[in-house]
């Protein structure tokens, strides 16, 4: 029930925020912030309540589950469930969601209500994706969040926003379509084997265990495993290629975006190394990347709000104008290059440690990515904040609201860097069950 509630709060909150604009934009912002914060509190409350429960550490168990018939003819049901991994990702989503409402507070002035409607509906879609146990429902949420996302880009984006929005939509549609084909194939195979129609995750998981399906599909763990060496190589290429592209950019936001490519390469490498260390690292990286890159995007946004450019060639020497923004940027740049003591280090260390057990050479190559991360992070700092000022910038330093947003993200990264155990603890069961699947299918690891 709580899972349905989480999604409903966002859907209704979004609609209410839209409607409330007539009264005052401030109401829209307040309602949106309230709705996301409520969700965050609910998830954290669940975490606190469940973390000592016996099923919290049991592989394959759902901590919370909701199920209702939806389209019985096709075997589609409204089936939501939450395990440790979904819990972590929900907490991250709502944390960042609340912060993004907060940091849009003054930046968004156009159609405030509709903005928050879209934002909250995107969040609702993401929450659905992280909890859906029916693959049809999963696909539904997956597609549902694309539309408000498209609108966010096209209405509130900056230069070339229509181009970007269309490109975004086409890419996600095309890849979503591939996934849909995979889901339908699984459903079909399940029907042929059992005579019953179902889109349920656990049913389709059993189908995918059969070799024929596994060869066809990359959607579910068993199949993924066969694909592991290729995927690891893709991860490594992503790490290195993203780092080089990030370094080459002259637009600050594009630079940060390419660092994401590099960071997510670690996630791919971690997942397909298929052992507890690397997969724990991958989970950790998803969270810490969300925080550190999210914070860098916030910084890009608040700089743009002040100097109306993202062109690094026009920046330089911004530290003198706004030392607090500079210090925050330094902090998150350091997180981004994997400085020990911050969460990203734990993530990358665990990923590489796990990958080392599978392939020394891939790990060594990915390790070069650490040097690459150093180069792009330092180059970001140098070009934006250090050096002589290219133009006589003069603008306000961090406001209290912005300080609170970035401070919360920084504090979270320090916490994850020095005491990551709560996250590792929550992700342990899912990692363990994945490992079991891996050990049932030997011979696909590299070495």
């Amino acid at each position: 029930m709580i899972l349905t509630l989480l999604i409903l709060i966002l859907l209704i909150g979004g609609a209410a925020a839209w409607a409330a604009e007539r009264k005052s934009p401030l109401w829209s912002r307040g309602i949106a912030l309230g709705a996301v914060t409520l969700d965050l509190l609910l998830v954290v409350g669940q975490w606190a309540a469940l973390r000592h429960a016996p099923e919290f550490l049991k592989p394959g168990a759902w901590l919370v589950e909701t199920r209702a018939e939806w389209i019985p003819q096709f075997g589609v049901s409204f089936h939501l469930g939450m395990d440790g991994l979904s819990l972590l990702l929900l907490a991250l989503t709502f944390f960042l969601g609340a912060l993004s409402v907060a940091c849009s507070w003054s930046e968004i002035q156009k159609r405030v209500g509709f903005f928050h409607f879209n934002l909250l509906w995107v969040l609702a879609g993401i929450a659905g994706v992280f909890t859906a146990l029916d693959l049809f429902l999963f696909y539904f949420f997956w597609e549902m969040m694309l539309i408000p996302m498209y609108l966010l880009i096209v209405i509130w984006g900056h230069e070339r926003r229509v181009y970007s929005a269309i490109k975004f939509f086409l890419f996600t549609q095309a890849s979503g379509l591939l996934m849909l084909i995979a889901i339908l194939t699984l459903q079909f195979l399940h029907f042929k084997q059992t005579g019953a129609r179902s889109f349920d995750y656990s049913d389709l998981l059993n189908v995918a265990m059969t070799p024929r399906a596994a060869m066809l599909l990359m959607l579910v763990p068993e199949a993924s495993l066969r694909f592991a060496p290729v995927a690891m190589a893709l991860g490594v290429v992503g790490i290195l290629y993203g780092a080089i592209l990030a370094f080459a950019q002259t637009d600050l936001k594009r630079l940060v975006a390419y660092t994401s490519v590099s960071h997510l390469g670690f996630v791919v490498l971690g997942i397909y190394s298929w052992n507890a260390w690397a997969m724990q690292g991958a989970v950790m990286q998803m969270i810490c990347h969300g925080l550190s890159t999210g914070a860098l995007f916030v910084l890009v946004g608040l700089l743009y709000e002040r100097i109306h450019t993202r062109d690094l060639r026009r920046m330089g020497g911004l530290w003198s104008a706004a030392p607090r923004i500079g210090a925050m940027a330094m902090f998150f740049a350091m997180a981004s290059l994997g400085l020990p003591g911050l969460g990203n280090f734990i993530a990358e260390f665990l990923v590489l440690l796990g990958a080392y057990h599978v392939s020394v050479w891939m790990t060594a190559l990915a390790g070069i990515g650490l040097v690459g991360a150093t180069i792009y992070s330092l180059s970001l700092m140098q070009r934006a904040f250090h050096g002589p000022a290219e133009e006589a910038w003069s603008f306000a330093d961090l406001s209290a609201r912005e300080w609170a947003v970035l401070g919360a993200m920084a504090a979270a990264l320090v916490w994850l860097g020095l005491y990551p155990q709560p996250v590792l603890h929550a992700a342990a069961p899912i990692v363990e069950s994945l490992e079991k699947i891996g050990s049932a299918l030997p011979g696909f690891f590299m070495r």
Binding site: L339, H386, L424
Partner: protein, 631 residues
Amino acid sequence: MSLLWLIPALPLAGYLALAFGGSRLSRAAAAWIGVGSVGLSALVALGVAAQFIGTPPAGPAFHQTLWTWMSVEDFKPAIGFYLDAMTVVFVLVVTGVGFLIHLYSVEYMAGDEGFRRFFAYMNLFVASMLVLVMADNLLLLYLGWEGVGLCSYLLIGFWYKDRVNGRAAQKAFIVTRVGDTAMALGLFLLVWQFRTLDVQQLMTQAREQWRVGAGMATAAAALLLGGALGKSAQLPLQTWLPDAMAGPTPVSALIHAATMVTAGVYLIARTHVLFELAPAAQLAVAIIGAATLLISGFSALAQRDIKRVLAYSTISQIGYMFLALGVGAWSAAVFHFMTHAFFKALLFLGAGAVILSLHHEQDIHKMGGLWKRLPLTFWTFLAGSAALAGLPLITAGFYSKDLILWSAWSSNAGGPALWAAGLIGAFLTALYTTRLVCLVFFGEEKGRVASKPGWRVSAPLAILAALSIVGGFVETPRALGGIRWFGEFLRSALPAAPGVEEAPERMESAMMLIASAAALLGIVLAGVLYLGMPRVVEGIAKRAWGAAAQAFWLGGWGFDWLYDRLFVKPFVWAATVNRDDFIDSAYNGVAAFFSLLHRGIIRTQTGRVRWYAAGVALGAVALMAIVLWVR
């Protein structure tokens, strides 16, 4: 031992106070916090050391575990501290010398607009360095390791408005990170083999499971060595240190001379068991040390910037420490680390005093005759120089360097070639040190002394000068009393070099005389050349070969030139060429193709019926043709 955590926590608290206090703090308050936190930390360290000596721990060390950092499967590194005899030495030097340099900085940085930021970074550095030397496992050590790297970067680029400083700072961080990546791979290897990074457990298990010369041991030692080479600026990763002199001079003294750059020495000494199991890696340490000390000795001889002379000298002296490590003389390396920290910090601080009083002049050819104007700076600088040059009998540097040379000769892992390299290095050291003193303090006066140092500058100089003289009497050759306090103190942590104690005393005395002669020869030769016959020096520099050698050495043997062409330029080129990501252009190509098609088809929509009719007819003919053809 429940107080251990306070030693790094105090400077860390100082950092936090300065970072969050920011401009709300007055300069005086910032100075009190900055200097006070390190001072308190030094006091706690002294108390802990006193207890270590007075009531020694049951095992070889005090141990304190704060919490389990993370726990994945059976890998459970802790946030925990370990304090054995070697750590005691490092902690005392870091906090003690660190305190003096902080005190000095209050005066040196007095007029700087980034005063609070400076002390914040310096405190963070001391905290990280203490974590590095006190960590009970290699992962926590790595945290300190990267932390000091960060502070080094921040402080080299402290005056960030100048692009040159930013460049030097980035270079330092990136070059050391190359080494750090090798070290990280070493850590993965160790976890893979032993499921732990706890240093003591690692050493025990390595000794049990690996035989001498095992491939795994060699790989592990070589990867850790990679990290050490980066941090300690040894061949081939030495290029960042001379440029690091862009930072404020107290930074050069603390980070780039006395403490951080010796982290590699600490790491190798800490994991000496691995190196004992990997004779090939250990030999590499010795050869790299010997080569580095020679190369940078020559470079120091050709520099014009007072700080760059000292920077190359630092690389060279760390080369000596590596030489000692390479021949298994672990405690000799730590001994030289300690005396070097005293005299090199002193020399940098003295250089800072000179630079400050000459309006930021750093070219030694524009200095001269300062001994009358700055007497205290002169006398203390002289003491430091004597120690660096290894002036026999009365300086600390003589005793520590002599021990290294003697070990290089007599240790089972040493030999005449390594010893000869060290001996030539000793001669070079004496030569460039004396040249520096002659050019700066003697000869005609060239610059005008604008100001004289106050007590905050003078007191650290005096204390360090005293230490540079007496700091060596804790370990002397047999002919000079045979004091063994230092080595004995470290024995619980570091074993004696094999073969050194057994070697005959007469040989030791003979070697000592040869080393003394080399140092004296260097001093006298440089004195005669630069004071008595400057024409001869100028003559050599004017000859073609003299000028070429000078340019080659001035540029650090062309390493920067080589790396620039080998790595930097290709990387920048590849990145710039592909700025718009060729993969993206493939997708855009698809889009462009369809929009072209779209525009082509639009052309047919003319609205004229006869065109449409013609189209229909043509289509019908084509269709029929196909049908006929296929049949």
